[in-house]
Amino acid sequence: MTVLVDISHRLGDFAVDASFESAGRLTALFGPSGSGKTTLINLIAGLIRPDRGRIAVDGRGLVDTDAGLFVPKHRRRIGMVFQDARLFPHMSVAGNLRYGRWFTPAAERYADFDAVVELLGIGHLLDRRPAKLSGGEKQRVAIGRALLASPKLLLMDEPLASLDEARKAEILPYIERLRDETKIPIVYVSHSVAEVARLASDVVVLAQGHVVASGATGAIMQRLDLLPAEERGEGGAVLDTKVLHHDEAFGMSVLGSLAGDIRVPRLAVPVGAPVRIRIRARDVMIATEAPVGLSALNILPGMIVAVRPGMGPTVEIAIDCNGAIVLARITEQSKHTLRLRLGGKVFAVIKTVSFDSATTGAGLPVEADG
């Protein structure tokens, strides 16, 4: 399944001129507000007609201005989850969920009502009116409504942006299940490093209406220069790990990764579960010798493979730890004092407590329960 977009469109004095192709399970359109993410997703959904360009999903042309092709939104079979849910106020939750099914040809209905309701945990809400739901519940129902139209592609426009942290944490696992348990490719708009690092398989980075980079999530997240200024502190390496065991005595979980074992606060996931972690560059210290007498628990040996100037008096140092890249942001002065240079052998040092729910994803840290 591939999504191909090559579009130029002008809205007042704002122009979107973007082209990308993605075959990812979940492709994030990532960028600061005003970068054209929402315009792009509206173009894919058919809510806007582009001035010029081409859009195709899985080889099926939806827009081709040269050929005069424009498939209207109701014939695209593309599900959309809006930031503001947009549930129909005059229908019950069940009515909302069943709405799209009506318009799907019987032969193309693959979404099973009970399965979707179970997947999203909304069985107890079916008889309620949308006005009686919490923000998180509304968003889950909106996801279910889009899924039950049996779409070929699911678009999500900042579905978590209007929710508080607790509600976000409530929904994220459902989006992960959606990504892992259904076959529908997802295009996900977000300006949050935490969401993108956790959910995306591929990232398309947008700025001022242009695509500035695209690629696999791990590679993109290391490019701190691509991140919006207010999110730069959140940038860093993204590592896919597995839970090796839980250290109940000290309330920790030990994750196995290419770079070596990483100790994080106790996660609420079983041993063997995959966990994607993000190590913020600002949380990583560098030592030139194996440290002793240090409280930090994660000490990963590696080699410097890149030194880049960062914001202000900082440098970004990429350390190859046995094939996994860990990113560190340190001061220019530290770099000078430690005489850090390409090819140098160093140790990346990360405190266990620098990991939190935003960086360890699915396994939300819980109080150690004995």
């Binding site: 809510l47 129909f88 009506w102």
Partner: protein, 234 residues
């Protein structure tokens, strides 16, 4: 109390005719009313101000003028009247249908205003959402827009009905005051006031008029409240 319910056959006819005329005027106004309200609320076209003015004309013109214009247009020799009579056998002049036409036109601005306000209040993003779920524009209108403007539709219909119940000037100018054919409640009351000893009859019909109008108003309130509760829009 007996004198109140003891209506003469002519008086009964006036009551029945008024209800019939008002109901037909209301129902016949609804489809064009919805259409014009949609066009005015959402259309962007040259001449929109003109159309808006035209719709509101019956509200600002003296009713006699509206009635006379109807007579000129829809009378037996009027261009529209002659055409309709010849091709469709529809005759308005001096018939109850003419009364319904006059009442419908007089109530039309009120109906359009009420519906237009509710159309403008509809969150168009809801309609976009329905579109992404596979609904074509006709389905979007029937399953989303129409239910969302229902309170406005009811308000507009009741206003039109109430206006028709009270319409006098345009009706009497256009179709005159013929008992059993075009003599609605206001015309009947007017007739009573013109003859000696007609006070009792005028009072009877006035009270009936008030009761019918109040009943329509209360019914619309109850309906609107029930729909509002069902939709639960904060």
């Amino acid at each position: 109390m007996n004198w109140l319910l003891d209506l003469t056959p002519d008086e009964w006819n006036a009551v029945r005719l008024s209800i019939k005329v008002a109901t037909v005027a209301m129902i016949a106004s609804l489809p064009p009313g919805i259409l014009i309200a949609l066009v005015l609320a959402r259309g962007q076209f040259w001449g929109k101000t003109l159309l808006n003015g035209l719709v509101h004309l019956p509200l600002i013109l003296p009713p006699v003028v509206t009635g006379y214009l109807l007579l000129l247009t829809f009378g037996r020799r009027g261009p529209a009247g002659a055409f309709l009579a010849e091709h469709f056998g529809i005759v308005f002049s001096f018939r109850w249908t003419g009364a319904a036409l006059a009442c419908g036109i007089m109530g039309f601005p009120l109906m359009v205003r009420a519906i237009r306000l509710s159309v403008e209040a509809v969150d168009r993003r809801m309609e976009a959402a329905a579109g992404t779920l596979g609904a074509n524009p006709v389905w979007v209108f029937t399953t989303i827009t129409l239910p969302l403007i229902l309170p406005g539709l009811i308000a507009g219909a009741i206003l039109s009905f109430a206006k028709a119940m009270g319409e006098f000037g345009a009706t009497i100018t256009f179709v005159s005051n013929i008992p059993n054919e075009t003599q609605t409640l206001p015309s009947a009351i007017y007739t009573f006031t013109q003859v000696p000893g007609g006070d009792e009859g005028a009072l009877r019909l006035t009270l009936i008029s008030i009761v019918i109008s109040m009943a329509a108003l209360v019914a619309s309130e109850v309906l609107a409240r029930r729909i509002g509760r069902r939709m639960d829009i904060e």
